[in-house]
């Protein structure tokens, strides 16, 4: 293989789109690195659920970064938003849950404890989310592999910040279930700004996606931007709501078990 032809990370190339598989070795190395870090640092023998969480979370990361979605992220704002949803909203809770058994045994780290507070978590996630949706930032970073990698890593970091207060080990002063549900709901609110700009903007927001070679003639830049904005709220928010629902049902089950365990005379 011609060394110069190797593309390590998906980025906007400006070349016409073709449904031809392409290799992105940097993505594979990154995904393998996640698996190695999990198995060497965070894996606790016997925790099969954690293993499944890790596999699913890493699978989502891979799906977001590799061909075709990763490559389409250089052509379509909607695909770029799909990557955001997977990297910032869907994968992080699974990866954090996968690491939780190990973190419950390890010494408490003050930085992680600080990040479990809702205010810094809210600030970090929304700063990342808003900055990485500014047109100048997207147009400047996405055409380069390093820039695209920075956006992807920022989304993952933002996603970890978003979910950490709700799924951290209890020793990190994880939010109580009612607070966690409220906190997660509030986290979905600021995304309405970029989503609204995408859906209701008179003209396409991103130069990159306005002028990119079309993937299909049916998907004009205007439709593409509108779909991106809708995905952000119609798919992105429900993922967080699913997290809220899981917390609710786990809380309800815990309460029921506690009630059943309590002798009736003491109620």
């Amino acid at each position: 293989m011609d060394r110069a032809a190797v593309t390590w990370w998906c980025a906007a190339t400006g070349l016409p789109w073709a449904w031809e598989w392409r290799a992105y070795p940097g993505v594979w190395i990154f995904v393998a690195l996640l698996a190695v870090v999990y198995s060497r640092t965070f894996r606790v023998a016997g925790h099969r659920i954690a293993d499944r969480h890790a596999a699913f979370g890493i699978g989502l990361v891979w799906l977001a970064l590799d061909w075709p979605l990763g490559a389409l992220g250089g052509y379509l704002a909607s695909a770029h938003t799909g990557q955001f949803i997977l990297l910032a909203l869907a994968a992080p809770p699974f990866l954090l849950l996968a690491c939780r058994p190990a973190l419950e045994r390890a010494p408490v780290r003050s930085a992680l404890r600080f990040l479990a507070h809702p205010l810094p978590a809210f600030a970090i996630y929304n700063t990342v989310m808003l900055i990485t949706h500014i047109p100048r930032v997207v147009d400047a970073l996405m055409p380069s592999q390093v820039g695209s990698l920075i956006i992807d890593l920022a989304w993952m970091a933002g996603g970890f910040a978003l979910w950490w207060p709700a799924v951290a080990p209890a020793r990190y002063r994880r939010l109580s279930p009612p607070l966690a549900m409220g906190y997660l709901f509030v986290q979905t609110i600021p995304a309405i700004f970029p989503a609204a700009a995408l859906v209701f903007g008179s003209y396409p927001l991103y130069r990159l996606y306005e002028l990119a070679p079309r993937v299909t003639p049916l998907l004009t830049p205007a439709y593409d931007h509108q779909i991106a904005g809708l995905l952000m709220k119609v798919v992105g928010d429900p993922i967080v709501w699913i997290g809220i629902a899981v917390i609710f049902f786990q809380w309800a089950n815990a309460e029921r078990r506690a009630d059943l365990a309590t002798p009736s005379g003491n109620r």
Partner: protein, 195 residues
């Protein structure tokens, strides 16, 4: 596949940006070109005569173009469709194919219709098309036949002819919808002086 965009002999590289317009001002105004091609309904279309005194946006390209043409025509079409009917009536968007073999009238009508149904599509023989490009002052498109599904290298800028029947400004590839939307009302009212 990479479409190599020919540097137009209009000399866009020498053109200066205008302070209030996104296009590049030409160092010297050029007259509205004279050429006659075939419209999509089969009639002959005398460009100079039919567009005289009107704001005219002229673009050379082809329907199978993988990058520049669909982006340019989509952006122009999106803006044309948002203009007031009064402004839209004062503008001609003319698309001249550089790939007459594949751009049949039906194919061109279908393709242009995706963007703006009022766009005038023109075709002709290879000689006629070459003459039209020379008259407009752009490099003559070249077919890249190295691949099975060939591409065509062609001028990528949109040539703008003002109501004074001269071209003072050209818009390079990369002009955005918002820029067109801001500039078209200005273009309609500027360079309207005596011809």
């Amino acid at each position: 596949m990479v479409v190599v965009v020919l540097v137009a002999s209009l000399g866009c590289s020498e053109a200066a940006p205008t302070p209030d317009l996104a296009g590049a001002l030409l160092p010297k105004a050029s007259p509205r070109p004279a050429f006659t091609l075939t419209a999509l309904d089969g009639s002959r279309f005398d460009f100079e005569e039919r567009t005289r005194g009107r704001l005219t946006l002229l673009f050379f390209g082809y329907a199978n173009c993988p990058d520049v043409c669909p982006a340019t025509m989509a952006n122009l079409g999106a803006v044309m469709n948002k203009l007031t009917s009064q402004d839209r009536r004062q503008i001609d968007v003319v698309f001249v194919t550089t790939d007459p073999d594949r751009d049949t009238r039906d194919r061109l009508a279908e393709w242009l219709g995706r963007f703006d149904r009022e766009t005038v599509g023109l075709s002709g023989s290879a000689d006629e098309l070459a003459q039209a490009q020379r008259a407009a002052g752009v490099g003559v498109a070249v077919r890249d036949s190295s691949a099975g599904r060939y591409t065509v290298s062609h001028a990528a800028q949109v040539l703008v002819y003002s109501p004074d029947d001269s071209s003072h400004i050209a818009y390079p590839f990369g002009t955005r919808q918002a820029q067109w939307a801001a500039d078209i009302p200005v273009l309609l009212r500027r360079w309207t002086g005596p011809r």
